[in-house]
């Protein structure tokens, strides 16, 4: 006689009856990620993320789903499909194909961004993600080295509407502004962020000495990530561009030199920036992310240089 399967989910009424107010639904987390929650509720969830590892894991899984989708359907393809389908269904040209300030699309975005809207949040990704990497009780000792042991560098893409968390490997254009966020290695005495662009240009984006910091008292990774004050406006170079963050227990000068040399070796050996993830540098830990710059500018007249906000 075959073993009977039991089905649990159909007894979910027991959950319905005993619901507590602390439950954060999957849908609400999706609204949180989309930036649709009111400020107060967003703040509550951000605070909860600081102390609730399972909740953080849930949000990270949702972000992973989003990243997978964006990889599968980059904006160029979405736009093409949308316009194609809208044209095919065009029974009312003035409603679907209307262009300009009064188009329904524009009205929808204006509403979603307005303070009077229930959402009203311009910071789709930045505020939400700022707390996501806080790992409660995470100071359990030294973290393992290497990029795969934990993301230490991420970036936000700034726009007129605010900031959103960037996706590793996403396509960006000239004129878009990036701001990096780091999850510091508390053991380090020096840190450097180095970039390699599609033309093989190597740049030290920023560097810091941690000689005076509390890295001698605790190991592990900083519980919160911090935003760097510098921002980077993308120039017209196309192709993959990668940014490495490297933490070292040596001096800053040595690290800068080693990082520059290692990055130049990457360029000289024509390694694929979409695949290489670490520099050949003696380090405590390092991590990297990359973008793919495509042709076409976001806006005119943007300076292709570092600038403070």
């Amino acid at each position: 006689m075959s073993e009977k399967m039991t089905v649990d989910f159909l007894d979910a009424l027991s959950n319905l009856e005993s619901e507590t107010n602390s439950h954060i639904s999957r849908h609400e987390l999706e609204c949180f990620i989309a930036g649709d929650l009111v400020k107060e509720r967003r703040g509550e969830i951000e605070a909860q993320l600081l102390i609730d590892a399972p909740l953080k894991a849930r949000v990270e899984r949702l972000f992973a789903v989003e990243r997978a989708f964006q990889t599968k359907m980059p904006f160029a393809r979405f736009e093409k499909d949308f316009e194609s389908r809208a044209s095919a269904q065009n029974s009312s040209p003035e409603k679907v194909d209307q262009r300009g300030e009064n188009s329904l699309l524009q009205r929808f975005m204006d509403w979603a961004a307005s303070p009077s809207a229930i959402g009203g949040s311009a910071l789709v990704g930045a505020a939400a993600l700022f707390f996501l990497v806080a790992s409660p009780g995470d100071e359990t000792g030294l973290r393992s080295k290497g990029a795969k042991e934990g993301v230490k560098i991420s970036f936000y893409v700034q726009s007129e509407k605010g900031a959103r968390l960037g996706v590793d490997g996403e396509e960006l254009r000239e004129g878009e502004r990036l701001q990096f966020a780091l999850h510091d290695d508390l053991r380090a005495r020096a840190m450097v962020v180095v970039g390699i662009d599609g033309n093989g240009q190597v740049s030290i984006i920023t560097s810091e000495s941690f000689a005076e910091k509390t890295n001698t008292t605790k190991g592990g990774v900083a519980p919160k990530k911090r935003l760097l004050t510098e921002s980077l406006v993308l120039d017209d170079t196309v192709g993959a561009e990668r940014f490495f963050v490297i933490y070292s227990e040596g001096s800053l000068a040595e690290l800068q030199k080693a990082a520059q040399t290692a990055a130049e070796e990457i360029v000289a050996s024509h390694k694929d920036l979409e695949k290489v993830e670490v520099l050949d540098v003696k380090s405590l830990s390092q991590s990297s992310i990359h973008i793919v710059k495509t042709a076409g500018s976001k806006r005119k007249g943007s300076p292709a240089a570092l600038s403070a906000p």
């Binding site: 039991t6 089905v7 639904s25 930036g35 929650l37 300030e101 959103r164």
Partner: protein, 186 residues
């Protein structure tokens, strides 16, 4: 950072932001109900087009994503009901194949999810919609009541109805399925 003085985005920028904020989630809903990847992509675009056309019907007390989710759920439920795809043979085959060599936890999750998806095809759209919000979106009573504009007792009654109908449908096709004893609804 230099602050823009422009109050509106270009249409391309608006569409880009729109897709970045909502496309993944709307697609996820469509894919969950429809299964077929291409059809889900088409459905996602149709949902956005519908939303654009019906902006005047947007209830401003709901979050945009909530509104879009509802449109997507109903749109996709209509699609699968129109197709009335046969499900039980495909399900049996998949479970049997999957049951060989995999751990029980993985099978359990897959089975429950598949069972839910299959049940959605067997009940009225109103019941299916509520079931999705409860089982998939994990919405609480208050959220669902507000979204579909029903009272809490009505919600519990409809959910109970979904459970009973689903059990009957499953029992007819899968005699070796066992359910826990049903709870009495207050």
């Amino acid at each position: 950072m230099k602050k823009s003085t422009e109050s509106t985005l270009s249409e391309k920028e608006a569409l880009r932001e729109f897709s970045e904020r909502y496309a993944a989630r709307v697609y996820g809903r469509c894919r969950y109900i429809i299964h077929d990847e291409q059809e889900a992509e088409d459905a996602m675009q149709d949902v956005f087009i519908k939303a654009m056309k019906n902006l005047d019907g947007f209830r401003q007390e709901a979050a945009p994503l909530t509104w879009l989710t509802r449109i997507a759920t109903n749109h996709c439920l209509n699609i699968i009901r129109a197709k009335r795809a046969p499900w039980h043979e495909k399900y049996k085959t998949e479970v049997k194949v999957r049951g060989e060599g995999e751990n029980s936890a993985a099978i359990r999750f897959a089975e429950d999810d598949q069972l839910l998806q299959l049940c959605l095809r067997q009940v009225d759209k109103d019941l299916a919609e509520i079931a999705i919000y409860h089982f998939v979106d994990e919405m609480n009573q208050a959220e669902i009541c507000k979204l579909v504009n029903v009272s809490a007792p009505t919600l519990r009654k409809r959910l109970r109805s979904f459970i009973d109908l689903s059990r009957d449908a499953i029992r007819q096709e899968m005699p070796n399925v066992d359910f826990r004893p049903a709870l009495v609804c207050r």
